[in-house]
């Protein structure tokens, strides 16, 4: 009985951290970018206000849309939440970590993307098709790069289960520093930028048809559905940042259940997230968006780096 309560609490903590922190990360990125541009920028809590407003608004549905259009936002949230309970943030191993591993996470991300891309085509809008086409093309290189870079870390720990990997890495911090991990980190960082649609791959703030990718795909979404989709993509950012943080710097992560350890872990996690968010903001501020057909070169770099890191691990070992 005690176990069930602990597990339930842990699950709520895990879900709560990601679901509630997601808009905060976006706020930090926006604020940092504004500061770099010498603006004051909106409050870091602005994304929460945006979401609340969108949740209250009515949904406009295209007359051409099928059931897929209304189904997708729910599926997207659901698949993202399943990923959330598999990717450790402040504690490892997670209560339901045995449901899936990194391959599952990658393919669950693909599941959400698959339906979102279909929803883009559903309304018969040219923009939607454009966004879907670009999103799927970029994903076709990013997804393998993501899997490979995590595999490179996973084989070190002898598991593809994220909770077990993170736990084993945090108990033997010496194994973190090896060349294969460095390559994997760079690859996963590029993947993070591409998957979360940031500059230089995509620009979340533009609605210019020449450049937009993700925004084009969800152009027809409005009101509450849009809130779900935005929220899911904010959670996706947290997922990727916690992968970066906990796979490569699992310092401070709680592996035993004690209030002290959890407290330290939460503080460490928020600090790491904030740092990474500022890092993303710096990358966004110092780079121009790449031309669409330059993007594959960058992504191929990530793919090759991640492959090299895996080969390196296979040949040299830890």
């Amino acid at each position: 009985m005690n176990d069930i309560i602990t597990n339930a609490l842990l699950l709520i903590l895990q879900l709560g951290v990601t679901v509630l922190m997601a808009p905060f990360i976006f706020g930090i990125i926006k604020k940092t970018k504004a500061r770099i541009q010498n603006r004051r920028g909106p409050s870091i809590f602005q994304p929460y206000a945006d979401l609340t407003k969108l949740l209250k608004k009515e949904v406009v549905i295209s007359e051409n849309a099928s059931w897929l259009f209304s189904f997708t936002p729910y599926l997207l949230i659901a698949s993202t939440l399943v990923i959330v309970i598999l990717v450790p943030t402040v504690f490892a191993p997670l209560p339901f970590h045995w449901i899936g591993d990194i391959i599952t996470v990658a393919y669950l991300l693909a599941l959400g993307r698959f339906f979102l891309a279909l929803a883009g085509l559903d309304t018969a809008s040219g923009f939607g098709g454009l966004g879907s086409s670009r999103e799927m093309s970029i994903a076709s290189i990013v997804e393998p790069a993501m899997m490979l870079s995590i595999f490179a870390v996973a084989v070190t720990a002898g598991s593809t289960n994220l909770s077990i990997v993170v736990r084993s890495l945090s108990t033997t911090p010496a194994s973190i520093f090896n060349p294969s991990h460095l390559l994997a980190f760079v690859a996963l960082f590029i993947v993070t930028i591409a998957e979360t649609g940031r500059i230089p791959v995509d620009n979340p703030e533009t609605h210019l048809e020449l450049t937009m990718i993700h925004e084009a795909m969800i152009l027809e979404y409005s009101g509450r559905y849009l809130a779900f989709i935005e929220w899911a993509s904010q959670m996706k950012m947290v997922i990727f940042l916690s992968l970066l943080a906990n796979l490569f710097f699992p310092i401070g992560l709680a592996t035993v259940l004690s209030p002290a350890a959890l407290g330290v872990s939460i503080v460490a996690f928020v600090a790491k997230m904030t740092l990474l968010a500022i890092g993303i903001a710096l990358v966004e501020s110092t780079n121009a968006k790449l031309r669409l057909f330059r993007v594959p070169d960058l992504l191929m770099t990530a793919f090759i780096l991640s492959l090299l890191s895996l080969i390196l691990y296979f040949i040299v070992g830890a």
Partner: protein, 665 residues
């Protein structure tokens, strides 16, 4: 081919007789399939093989059947798909009545099943080859069934040529086997295989890989496949893609694992190399295809690649002594055989339903079918999710197992393996991601948006028997996905009998729904995953109501930049959709673009733009065309002795006779 005379068709009573005949034919094949399914279940449950020998023996060996676990697995796969397809055919062939000879079709259809069963249960090579050839010819007649179509006749010719090159090589293999081991009988060959020298074993392996590879459609022997699949009626396409090409896999596994007892590492490396090339090229060509059935055909090449990744990895790991990992890899490959049969069968049946309703296979002319064919589109979507390896459906499970088997390979000491495995993992991941992109295109352009042609606009849903058949296969995709333990626990003793090792050391099953992997210790629980997906989908509903009250919706027009009405032609096309991929992989596609623009008054007023893009298929250009030119020039050279005068032929006979007498004397 024979037509039912039109006059007879006009009479109602004749039509009724034909209809009844058709129903009897397909219901019988459906019952036969169910019997086959029961047989294979009983063999798996009892663990005993079935042996049957017909009294009449031919000079080369007895007509003998043995259904062991390997046969039973393929037989079960074939029967499951066969039962669904037979049901589907009841409705599907009804449109043939005014055009084709349905009786002939049913005859060919059932002959195909018969030869398939004979092939999978043959106990010796003579009988096997006989069944193989009859099956090949039956398929030829089914490909050219719609013989008034030039493309079908061409596809049939290509198929016959390729198929016979394969059979010739297989015959060679069987003869080498016979000379070395002194029998055509599988059981005798199995026990005598140790007498064969390693070199000749490798020769036998290579012959079987090429000969069976033609049927399986591995790159570069695949060229018949994308032509033949779209040419046949869709129920046959489903059967070909789901089962017939798997007989190639059956042959490869039977010869290299069962009869030869595996071999050196380079066998596995060769299979892996062919597998990754097939998988990646298959999906890349599928992305460029706008003919729905050709697109699916290229995906068959891709999936054969994925299956062979498991088979190849099994050969590699077996040679390095990691027997349990080898067992896991083989099981992953075989599970993908079953899964691919299920979802690709489903997709081809869905495509058949679309073609039946719209009379076109070109997806650029389709669109909006989700509203016209609601059931077909839903089942097709399930198939699309499954083939894209998305959780929690069945395609995901077999790819997951393949990934696990490959990742276990990092303990191998050999450098070639250490290089080959990460590359295979990378390309498997790439294949999965590209397949998802391709099925967004295939489903999105075909079923979503606005209809791009009148035919698509007027489409009507298919008859119930077709829908039920698709529903069965869709359910199969879900069940095989969330309860993988059922099939895997049956495959475990099979791998034990082939490799002498089972996967239980590496992967264990917790109930039917959960798979645990030991060495990269990890697990998946697809049933719980599905439950969680359903449960979590409720959260946003609750959150939305709590924060903003009841959901309010309004139907409005799609935003088209202020233009009055949205026309179907303003939508994205399949060509446009795949353009970024075409650019990313331009070095593989070697696409040639042609743009023609007609202008009026000034360049700002364009009256017409024509855009054409053609792809160079690298193996056709660089391998088959030179080979064909070579054969033609040899033939031209040979023509010189064909004078056409009977005297010269008599002289040739005389000369040959003298040479023979001299040679033997």
């Amino acid at each position: 081919m024979i037509f039912i005379p039109r006059k007879r068709l006009a009479s109602d009573s004749a039509l009724k007789v034909a209809e009844a005949g058709k129903n009897v034919g397909f219901i019988l094949s459906c019952l036969g399939s169910v019997a086959g399914l029961l047989l294979s279940f009983s063999i798996f449950l009892s663990g005993q093989s079935l042996h049957l020998e017909l009294p009449q023996t031919t000079p080369l060996g007895a007509m003998a059947f043995t259904v062991d676990q390997l046969s039973a697995f393929f037989l079960g796969t074939a029967s499951f798909l066969g039962a669904a397809i037979s049901l589907y055919s009841l409705g599907y062939t009804s449109e043939y009545f005014h055009k084709r000879h349905v009786g002939l079709f049913i005859f060919l259809y059932n002959t195909l099943f018969l030869t398939l069963v004979a092939l999978l249960s043959a106990a010796n090579f003579v009988f096997f080859l006989f069944a193989w050839e009859v099956m090949s010819f039956t398929i030829y007649f089914l490909i050219v069934f719609e013989h008034d179509d030039e493309a079908s006749r061409r596809a049939g010719f290509l198929y016959v040529v390729m198929s016979h090159v394969g059979t010739a090589i297989l015959t060679g293999m069987i003869l080498v086997f016979f000379v070395q081991a002194g029998s055509f009988d599988f059981a005798a060959l199995r026990s005598n295989a140790h007498q064969i020298t390693p070199t000749l074993k490798s020769v036998i392996f290579l012959c079987s890989f090429i000969g069976f590879g033609v049927k399986a459609g591995i790159v570069p022997l695949h060229i018949w496949l994308p032509e033949a699949h779209p040419a046949t009626p869709s129920n046959i396409s489903a059967l070909m893609s789901g089962v017939i090409i798997k007989t190639g896999i059956y042959g490869i596994v039977r010869v290299s694992f069962d009869l030869l007892g595996t071999g050196p590492m380079w066998w596995g490396i060769l299979v892996l190399a062919v597998a990754v090339v097939s998988a990646v090229l298959g999906v890349l060509y599928a992305l460029m295809e706008h003919d729905l059935k050709r697109l699916l055909a290229y995906h068959s090449i891709e999936n054969i690649g994925i299956i062979l990744m498991g088979v190849g990895a099994a050969l590699v790991f077996n040679s390095t002594g990691n027997k349990t990992v080898a067992a896991l890899a083989l099981i992953a490959g075989l599970y993908h055989v079953l899964n691919h049969a299920t979802f690709k069968g489903l997709l081809f049946l869905g495509a058949g339903s679309v073609v039946r309703a719209t009379h076109t296979r070109n997806i650029e002319e389709l669109g909006g079918l989700a509203k016209k064919l609601p059931y077909t589109s839903f089942f097709f979507l399930i198939g699309a999710v499954a083939i894209s390896a998305l959780p929690p459906l069945n395609g995901f499970i077999s790819e997951w197992l393949t990934f696990q088997a490959l990742l276990l390979g990092f303990t191998t000491a050999d450098l070639t393996v250490k290089l080959a495995i990460p590359v295979t993992v990378a390309l498997l991941a790439l294949t999965g991601a590209l397949a998802a992109a391709c099925f967004v295109k295939a489903y999105g352009i075909t079923f979503l948006g606005l209809p791009r042609s009148n035919a698509a606009d007027k489409a009507k849903e298919s008859p119930r028997s077709m829908l039920v058949a698709m529903g069965i296969l869709a359910l199969g995709c879900v069940v095989l996905g969330i309860f993988p333990g059922i099939a895997l626990s049956a495959l475990n003793p099979l791998s034990a009998s082939l490799l002498g090792a089972s996967m239980t050391n590496e992967v264990s099953l917790v109930g039917p729904t959960m798979i645990l992997s030991a060495s990269p210790s990890t697990s998946i629980a697809p049933a719980l995953m599905l439950a969680l997906l359903a449960g979590f989908a409720g959260l946003p509903i609750v959150a939305g109501i709590l924060m903003g009250g009841k959901l309010r919706t309004r139907i409005a027009k799609t935003w088209v930049c202020g233009i009055e009405t949205l026309r179907p032609r303003m939508q994205y096309t399949a060509t446009g959709f795949s353009k970024p991929i075409r650019l990313i992989f331009s070095s593989i596609y070697r696409a040639r673009h042609e743009i023609e623009i007609s202008e009026d008054v000034s360049p700002y007023f364009k009256t017409e733009i024509r855009y054409e893009v053609t792809m160079e298929h690298i193996f056709e250009e660089k391998l088959y065309k030179p080979a064909m030119r070579g054969i033609l020039s040899v033939a031209r050279f040979g023509r010189r002795i064909q004078t056409g005068h009977i005297q010269s032929y008599l002289a040739y006979i005389f000369i040959v006779l003298i040479i023979l007498l001299w040679a033997t004397g």
